[in-house]
């Protein structure tokens, strides 16, 4: 079955984030003076097939470890849900 994982890759605490700092400066200059910190990151939506939920979790965990995040400076969190396919949507209610 088809799964959709939303993977959020964030910089580890303590890793300098000049992009986030620049965004924070821009927000404050727009008048949002209460903005104290911005941390930038990446959001990836990954559609893939797996037999069941545990296989899907194992697969996305492995993808994160092998490629999507570099543990030197990043960490990945993800949410997983079954994805409706075109075939599912074609079934009349």
């Amino acid at each position: 079955m088809r799964w959709l994982a939303e993977v959020h890759v964030a910089l580890r605490p303590g890793i300098a984030d000049p992009e986030g700092q620049t965004i924070g400066t821009a927000l404050r200059s727009l008048g949002y003076e209460t903005v104290s910190e911005v941390r930038s990151g990446k959001l990836m939506s990954i559609s893939f097939d797996a037999d069941d939920e545990s296989a899907a979790k194992a697969a996305i965990g492995e993808m994160c470890r092998r490629l999507l995040a570099n543990p030197v400076m990043e960490m990945a969190t993800w949410e997983l849900r079954a994805e409706l396919t075109d075939a599912d949507e074609a079934i009349p209610a």
Binding site: I15, A16, P18, E19, T22, L67, L68, N70, V72, M73
Partner: protein, 248 residues
């Protein structure tokens, strides 16, 4: 055959988006008189070679993270085996980024702290060159060399324990410095931790550095300090027992 017939054989790896392979090949063949082969990243064998170059550029468009996708190319299995056997490997700029992603060197290279691409001549202080005999054997501790840098993501990052370990083991061999060789915040072009510009693996055969030695190999182009690394390699190779066999 005479000894003069022996020439170092270098392989330059090329990934989609690599941009410095021709500069390396030009210097190897036309300036140094070496044998040079450029190898596409899908090749799984290096063939007969004495040293491997991972050149600069934007392998796979720098997508996801610099070097993150290149590390999975078939040629990297061969480079890892070559490095594990003690073969000299140099990764410059994007090549350095690939080496860290591949785990051949610790740490990571991140976006410059000022977020700008920086292309300039840069002074570097040489430290503990004996830790990288194949690449820095002709240089002395405290030497100041001048090489071009050309990168947007050269800020060296590692956790404190890793940094302390590198320092303790003398594996930081190049630091950003001013022309006097002083390591200062002002001389650090990208915010690298501890001004690290280049480091070696534990064994000392794999060197990663953000600067471009291949762009400092002809006086007409502004400097020749890059040649000191390549001459070091040539001398080191000649001193290795295996080189004797190659000369026969």
């Amino acid at each position: 055959m005479t000894m003069a017939a022996w020439r170092p054989r270098v392989v330059v790896a090329v990934f989609p988006g690599t941009w410095s392979e021709r500069d390396f090949a030009h210097v190897a063949e036309n300036v140094l008189g070496w044998e040079c082969r450029t190898l596409w990243h899908l090749e799984a064998e290096l063939g007969a070679c004495d040293a491997v170059v991972l050149p600069g550029g934007f392998a796979h468009g720098d997508h996801l993270r610099t070097g993150a996708i290149a590390r999975f190319s078939p040629i990297m299995r061969a480079v890892e085996a070559f490095a594990a056997a003690g073969g000299p490997v140099i990764g410059s700029c994007n090549g350095f980024q690939v080496l860290t992603e591949a785990g051949l060197l610790p740490g990571a290279l991140m976006r410059n702290d000022h977020l700008q691409f920086r292309c300039d001549w840069q002074s570097l202080r040489v430290e503990r060159p004996e830790r990288a005999p194949a690449w820095l054997g002709d240089l002395a501790n405290g030497d100041v060399i001048r090489l071009p840098i050309s990168h947007g993501e050269g800020r060296y990052v590692a956790d404190a324990a890793t940094l302390d370990g590198l320092e303790r083991e003398g594996r930081v061999v190049l630091r950003y410095a001013n022309v006097a060789g002083e390591v200062t915040d002002e001389a650090n072009p990208n915010g690298s931790q501890r001004s690290i510009a280049g480091l070696v693996n534990e064994r000392g055969n794999v060197l990663g550095l953000m600067p471009h030695p291949e762009r400092a190999a002809e006086a007409e182009l502004g400097g020749t300090d890059g040649l000191r690394l390549f001459r070091s390699l040539e001398r080191w190779l000649q001193e290795q027992p295996a080189a004797t066999e190659r000369r026969l």
